[in-house]
């Protein structure tokens, strides 16, 4: 894992000291809110419905056990004993007090973390495949490049006042687990004739105008990465609209300019700045890569694991849903579900964070990941240790066997916390999970991704949910629109709206009708919801969702 250089350390400490002074000056009245607001946003501090909210970056979703333990400590000391992991691999604290923020930032700096550029019209936390470095299907670990981009984009003088925020995601595998096509820039590590390079997507994004990223370069040689990314940002910085917030993201710039024309402009800018990159970036990258060397994997006897599987059906069920193939047969990737039925998606208590940190330290080479699906990953686990890990997780309510199932729901904070939200998301997720647990249908329904956003900004990725739910304010009442058929993988698809929305107390029954229809319609248990939808289209689901009588009455 990456360890801060002296430069990183000094920079982060200096920013904390600066912000400490800014907070003091705000409190003593030397700074007005208008003056203070851009400063606090630069340091990840929002003001939400009930309190301040501090958003902390978890670069490319990677944490050491020490960092995870510290996140739990901060939650206990300055917040209400929990933290919320987000779809952009950040953690949010929902209840900090203004006076405490500088101390929280110092505590983060103690473990080489910060909240810089987690807000504002800057390049945000660079996200990555949460299975990076462990997945069997990977061409290369994307995190060294993500770290290079973090260093390059942090406080980059040219890109501190972009037309709008800018999000980059990277994957090193053909199976996209990082939703790269829904990012301003998506990077995919690819191999061509034995040479490793990047496929570059630009102009993806969800929100009010969802767009799928377009390929701007099919193969970018490794050495050209940083100048090419800088060229994209540079073109966007000049061309992106500043007259209308809703048209300011690069997806609109690409859409209005056309991919071919904008490609030409990027190539022109690239030719201009390429000579300035004399190779220092590659030296730095090589240094970073050395720090991401794989751990010294232990050879592990799988016998205890196999015995436990046979003996304990609860353990077996957890293995069946929560394990993913590791590049080594005697290891596994463990997904720890933060989606216990009825709990808040993505929340972990201080105690749970401490336990996960201990498990990572003891069994899993000291590494954890946060997935954009709001779960925690132990990327490298010897199979022999799985029974012990499962037992320890069970004691703190973290052994839910539901990864990829109906209750493994992405939900944004929604109107329970967020000042931008138009409706609640969390209770909808809680009730869907609880309902299908009661019905005992979760495993029968199988692979399904439900994603819920509490406003059009789509932090809950509803557009790419197999079932997407969007909460709106319709004449002062919460109303929920449903989309079907979305997909956030390498086949990224924007879901299609079913029709009129549903009131708060109608949305869970509506989801139930869709899923009962699916169980009736599927060819057999091996056909997933998404496959059935793709085979049959919207019509049968619409018929189930809006019964004839209701439609006749409405006519």
């Amino acid at each position: 894992m990456y360890t801060y250089s002296d430069f990183d350390e000094a920079f982060v400490r200096e920013r904390v000291a600066q912000f400490r002074g800014q907070v003091e000056r705000r409190i003593d009245g030397s700074l007005t809110e208008d003056e203070f607001k851009p400063l606090r946003l630069m340091n990840g501090l929002y003001l939400q419905l009930h309190a301040y909210m501090l958003r902390v970056a978890i670069p490319y979703g990677t944490l050491s056990s020490r960092q995870m333990r510290q996140l739990g400590y901060i939650a206990g000391k300055w917040d209400k004993g929990y933290g919320h992991f987000t779809t952009r691999q950040n953690i949010q604290y929902n209840w900090p007090k203004l006076r405490d923020i500088p101390d929280m930032l110092d505590a983060l700096a103690d473990v080489q973390m910060h909240a810089i550029q987690t807000s504002g019209n800057t390049i945000r936390n660079v996200t990555a495949d949460h299975f990076a470095g462990a997945a069997a299907d990977e061409i290369a670990d994307p995190r060294p490049v993500a770290e290079l981009l973090r260093q390059w984009s942090t406080d980059h003088a040219e890109f501190q006042f972009l037309p709008r925020k800018f999000k980059i995601a990277i994957t090193g595998a053909p199976n996209d687990r990082a939703v790269i096509r829904a990012h301003d820039i998506g990077l995919e590590i690819v191999e061509r004739d034995g040479e490793v390079g990047y496929r570059v997507f630009v102009g993806g994004g969800l929100g009010r105008t969802p767009m799928i990223g377009k390929v701007v370069r099919d193969f970018l040689p490794r050495l050209d990465l940083l100048p090419y990314i800088e060229a994209i940002l540079s073109v966007y910085n000049l061309l992106g609209r500043r007259d209308n917030k809703y048209k300011a993201r690069i997806k609109i710039t690409v859409h209005e300019t056309g991919i071919d024309e904008i490609r030409g402009m990027i190539e022109e800018r690239f030719a201009e700045i390429r000579p300035e990159f004399t190779g220092v970036d590659q030296q730095i990258l090589a240094g970073i890569e050395a720090q991401f060397a794989p751990p010294a994997f232990r050879d592990a006897d799988p016998a205890p694991y196999l015995a436990a599987r046979d003996a304990d059906p609860v353990f077996r069920a957890w293995c069946d849903t929560n394990l993913t193939a590791h590049k080594r047969d005697d290891h596994a990737i463990v997904s720890i579900s933060l989606k216990a039925h009825g709990k808040t998606p993505g929340d972990a208590t201080a105690e749970q964070m401490a336990v996960m940190a201990d498990l990572a330290e003891r069994y899993a080479y000291d590494e954890l990941r946060i997935s954009h699906e709001q779960n925690v990953i132990l990327p490298h686990v010897p199979r022999t240790d799985l029974p012990a890990i499962h037992a320890a997780l069970k004691e703190v309510g973290l052994a839910t066997a539901n990864i990829g199932l109906v209750s493994d729901i992405i939900a944004c904070p929604g109107m329970d916390y967020c000042a931008l939200a138009t409706a609640r998301s969390i209770p909808v997720a809680q009730e869907i999970a609880t309902r299908f647990e009661e019905l005992k249908l979760e495993h029968d329904i199988g692979a399904l991704k439900i994603k819920i956003s509490g406003c059009i900004n789509a932090c809950g990725h509803h557009h790419v949910g197999h079932i997407g739910i969007l909460g709106l304010d319709r004449a002062g009442v919460e109303n929920y629109q449903i989309t079907l058929g979305g997909d956030g993988t390498e086949e990224t698809t924007i879901g299609t709206r079913t029709g009129p929305g549903f009131a708060y107390d109608e949305i869970v029954p509506a989801i139930e009708r869709i899923l009962f229809a699916y169980l009736d319609l599927r060819e057999d248990a091996s056909e997933t919801f998404l496959e059935t939808y793709r085979r049959l289209g919207m019509a049968p689901f619409k018929a189930a969702l809006y019964p004839v009588k209701e439609r006749a009455d409405a006519a």
């Binding site: 705000r26 409190i27 009245g29 007005t32 809110e33 003001l47 939400q48 419905l49 009930h50 309190a51 301040y52 209400k80 929902n94 209840w95 900090p96 007090k97 203004l98 006076r99 808040t344 109107m415 329970d416 916390y417 609640r424 969390i426 209770p427 809680q430 304010d473 002062g476 009442v477 919460e478």
Partner: protein
């Protein structure tokens, strides 16, 4: 003809704690919406908002929110404002914590 004026309260977030507060007729800020001043006149609403926006050492982001008279003072008419008087629905945190 102008639209009928909906009664308002002036609300904001406290600078230090960040939680919801409401302006009283006595120019103080309260954490109990029932103690807020219910404003029935548009001109007076503008004046009260201007006053609140000047209180930058105490509160942040003052605005006028729709309200109506309840049995013990103003109550919210929109669900967003109702949440601000209580707290989130997933934990008993915020104002409902001490209630």
């Amino acid at each position: 003809m102008s639209r009928t004026f909906t009664p308002k309260v002036v609300t904001a977030n406290a600078l230090l704690e960040g939680d919801a507060v409401w302006l009283t007729a006595a120019d103080t800020w309260t954490r109990d919406m029932g103690e807020a001043e219910l404003i029935e006149d548009p001109g007076h609403a503008e004046l009260r908002l201007l006053h609140a926006q000047g209180e930058t050492e105490t509160v942040v982001g003052a605005y006028l929110a729709d309200a109506k008279a309840g049995p013990t003072g103003p109550v919210p008419t929109h669900f967003r404002e109702a949440f601000r008087t209580r707290g989130p629905s997933n934990y008993a945190h915020g104002k409902q914590e001490g209630a």
